[in-house]
Amino acid sequence: MIRFDGAGKRHPDGTIAVEGLDLTVPAGRTTVLVGPSGCGKTTILRMVNRMVEPTSGRVLLDGTDVTELEAAKLRRGIGYVIQQAGLFPHRKVIDNIATVPHLLGWDRKKARARAHEMLELVGLAPETAKRYPFQLSGGQQQRVGVARALAADPPLLLMDEPFSAVDPVVRAGLQEELLRLQSELNKTVLFVTHDIEEAVRLGDQIVVLREHGRIGQVADPATLLAAPADEQVAAFLGRDRGLRGLGLRPAGSIALTPLDEPFAGWRLELDEAGRATGWTGHGEHRPAAAFDPGADTLRTALDATVLSPVGAAVAVDGDGRAVGIAARAAVLDALDALHALPPRDEAGHGR
């Protein structure tokens, strides 16, 4: 756990980078710092590993003031990933990854074995080990950067816009990878970005910052999107935040009607495997739109009912077999439930 206790940084030239920051970063979760350029995100991150020393207040790591710890030793216990990866150009990928184990004095064989494990963990082919950084794509370099940060198994990971220098497709892949890693490893992650979408995707807790590292709001992503603290935070969150917020809610709460029950004169057709092939009724055949209540979000479910030409979507299981019908009204009921409103009259099916 990291605690910022009135932490501030004033540079010798008088610039105030961060002022009076009070913030708790819970252990085992991902906390994302998000805010406009120059608001002090990098400074806050670096106060943790003493690359920036606070000029006021304290930064406590598991209760210990970081300035009481020896800087180099402290840093070997904290993973650090930056935007440009910052790989050592003269070292092969495998030796880049083994950097911290090597600094910690592990024997060479153990360090290498560990580095190979890490390479696999971040989804890189084993033959990448012998390459030099200049022989890798930007996305691969970032993966190596993450592997290097994780190699000595530090409980804490600092990530400063690690994915902002790669194209959107690669970025989405890297975010996916980080979510997967984090679900396995449960590190304390402090992640900096200026991309609110990224913050919403990755964060368990999001810290919206303003000038001088002042806190606009601290909240989980769904709460943040649903209830921004003020106009400024709302403006920063951007348009469609209601819809985007639905992307964080599971679709499991939607009440389903049985498959054999006709919907507004439409009947769902199934093949032998139980997959929906379309709707028939009114002398016509229309395609079906589906979502998986076990894996998808309210946003996907709503999207499916909007797409569906009959006003109801098909709920499917993990194998694509239809399990129920979700009327548009039932999806809207689920939305109402978010705001704790009483259920609509017309949708009487139990939730």
């Binding site: 990866a85 910052g86 003269h90």
Partner: protein, 222 residues
């Protein structure tokens, strides 16, 4: 040089051993200073990178020495190191090599991209350890580029030492000139060029072995 052909092959044939001796002497008095220059430039460069205030005065000193005509420096040194001794020629050549190598080394050490340096610090390298483990290896292509310039100019400058009696192949130029006999001059030129070419080749090879990561596209200034 009326009627005298450019090369009299029999003279070369007769003097193979002599030419070989001059070539070896030339290689020693020109390249050993470059080596010593390198051994001095590396620690000095590290010091100058760690304590940047040292750099300007040191670089200025060696630049001033570099500006002095070599012959003048040889003559000034004679009372201390003696006429026709290796030291008289090699001391100034070492200074010249250093004048080239110190800035290239410092450039190389400073050329490490900022993110790389920051990553190293964040991984837990102390300042000295980072310098030797990250910045120094990254400086290899720069240092080798500096070595190529220093070695070739040292090979060329060493000839001047012949004027005070210790110039390796340079002696062939004086000899040929005094006797209006072009053969030794031509032999000297060819051997100096050959020595420079071989040295350059060895350095390029060294770079490929020491810095395989630098690729071909690495731009090296100077």
């Amino acid at each position: 040089m009326d009627g005298e052909p450019l090369v009299r092959w029999y003279w070369i044939g007769d003097h193979l051993g002599y030419l070989w001796g001059l070539l070896a002497d030339h290689a020693v008095i020109s390249l050993v200073p470059v080596l010593i220059g390198l051994l001095l430039a590396l620690p000095l460069g590290l010091l100058c990178t760690r304590f940047p205030r040292l750099y300007q005065p040191l670089a200025a000193t060696f630049n001033v020495v570099y500006a002095l005509p070599s012959l003048a420096v040889f003559v000034v040194l004679i009372p201390y190191t003696g006429l026709a001794t290796q030291a008289t020629v090699m001391i100034p050549l070492t200074c010249y090599a250093l004048a080239v190598l110190l800035p290239t080394t410092v450039d190389g050490l400073r050329a490490v991209p900022d993110p790389v340096r920051q990553a190293a610090t964040a991984m837990g390298y102390g300042p000295w350890r980072r310098l030797t483990a990250v910045e120094l290896p990254s400086a290899v292509p720069y240092v080798v580029a500096g070595l190529r310039v220093a070695a070739v100019s040292s090979i060329s400058l060493a000839s001047v030492g012949a004027l005070i009696g210790r110039g390796g192949l340079g002696y062939l130029f004086i000899d040929g000139f005094q006797r209006t006999f072009p053969t030794p001059i031509v032999a000297g030129i060819v051997l100096v060029a050959l020595l420079a070419l071989v040295t350059d080749g060895v350095l390029l090879l060294a770079r490929r072995v020491l810095a395989p990561w630098a690729g071909r596209e690495t731009a090296v200034r100077r």
